[in-house]
Amino acid sequence: MTMTDNNQNHGQDMIRVESLMKSFTLHNQGGVTLPVLEDVSFTVAQGECVILAGQSGAGKSTLLRSLYANYLPQSGQVLIRHDGELVDLVSAAPHVVLDIRARTLGYVSQFLRVIPRVGTLDLVADSLLARGINEVAAREKAATLLSRLRIPESLWSLPPATFSGGEQQRVNIAMTLVQDYPVLLLDEPTASLDAENRQTVVDLINEARQNGSAIVGIFHDQAVREAVGTRTYELQPARSAA
């Protein structure tokens, strides 16, 4: 197995994907199998932001979800550096994956999915509280981030269910970026934002990267790609099912 060396060596490899294969078998639709990822290998170092590129259906979201262990690959490895050691998410026990997600690996999905009835500030502070950070500090950090993302203070006590699409997306971003995750996965975090908020999110991503996070993201907006990306990884569509 060959590992491509990183030319712009910013630091340690944080993500190492090796020979990843992912297909979907639809048991209730005649058992048809759809191959999506075939032999995907790449590495991401500290301080890098790798943009996943490829046409629609090439498997960008599938790859990103596999990097979070949200999807289960058939073979290959997804190694994430956690407490200094590379740990394979594909074969790790669930409680290990949960610990990696709590402390190392953050993911911003396209859609906000939260407990009903919980206020926005509490949602954003939640992951900090879960890690044992005291309530005052957690809420202060959450408040700072929400202000920066221009969520009006009058909305902080309300659950985000009734917010606009753009506001929900910003709450979603805040819920992840409130932590300083060493590895960040971003699935179209700027899709429904206006120019001003898009710029704020670009700034936040760049700050995370400059602070040493390793980032992998899907961005459809060319300007955003250029503003945050340090490198592109091009996915080829898998050959059709045999």
């Binding site: 999807y71 669930p94 610990d99 879960a130 890690r131």
Partner: protein, 262 residues
């Protein structure tokens, strides 16, 4: 504070099988639960999830297999090898069981306050004033009106009874709580409130939890891990979001695709 995850498992279930005559209740179930983890068990009625819960929680001795719990003093112990008295003590102190039907978990003919206080007395608390203080503190935590403390649970609504059951179970600060369909039979707004409450308490106290339900929405919100049962067997298990978003087994795929969109 958050429970540390790198300790050993809190509960270890191996080869658990329960037969009712020729009928299989559950068969060859294996899992480990770590401190602070929430495990959801889903499956249709008759899939064996309640049987599994009863066996794992000390209520029914399985036909085969072991259930080991990390006791405070002696480490991992087979709960069915303990004496009846030791097992009862464990269930009163380190475990909580929240039943689908509050009548199974509450004493309906004593007051709400006494329902909570009783469990404190079972672990040796004798001072009336402090029992009452701690009880009312817990009733407040589960958002009960303290004016109802001296009322009988049978005068309460279903949602209030469930909250009282939670207070009664959590007052002894257990390390593991079993819940059997805790929100079914409640209307949706009450369900959401209860889920939020359970989640907050589990988080604050670092309690591990096993929740049996047929509601995939409940496990999505509450559980870290998920087991899918069918005909007494575990057909799939893994991280909750992985099992729901990328189900591998035909039955899980059917289950997930059968959710009605709202």
């Amino acid at each position: 504070m958050m429970a540390l995850r790198d300790n050993g498992p809190l509960l270890e279930v191996e080869g658990l099988t329960q037969k009712y005559g020729h009928q299989i209740g559950c068969e060859d179930v294996h899992f480990s639960l770590y401190p602070g983890e929430v495990l959801g068990i889903v499956g249709e009625s008759g899939s064996g999830k309640s049987t599994l819960l009863r066996c794992a929680s000390g209520l029914m001795q399985p036909t085969a297999g072991t259930v080991r719990f990390d006791t405070r003093v002696d480490g991992l112990q087979d709960i069915y090898a303990l004496s009846e008295a030791e097992r009862r003590m464990l269930m009163r102190t380190d475990w909580g069981i929240i039943f689908q039907n509050a009548r199974d978990g509450l004493r309906m003919n004593v007051s709400a306050g006494a329902n909570v206080g009783e469990r404190l007395m079972a672990v040796g608390e004798r001072h009336y004033g402090s029992i009452r203080d701690v009880s009312s503190e817990w009733l407040e935590k589960v958002e009960m009106d303290l004016g109802r403390m001296d009322d009988l649970p049978r005068t309460f609504s279903g949602g209030m009874q469930q909250r009282l059951q939670i207070a009664r179970n959590l007052v002894t600060k257990p390390r593991l709580v079993f819940m059997d369909e805790p929100t079914s039979g409640l209307d949706v707004s009450v369900q959401a409130r209860l889920l939020d409450l359970v989640r907050g308490l589990v988080r604050q106290l670092g309690i591990a939890c096993i929740i049996v339900t047929h509601d995939l929405g409940v496990v999505r919100l509450l559980s870290d891990r998920l087991m899918v049962m069918r005909r007494g067997r575990v057909v799939e298990q893994g991280l909750t979001d992985q099992v729901l978003d990328d189900p591998q087994h035909a039955y899980t795929q059917l289950l997930v695709s059968s959710i009605l969109p709202v």
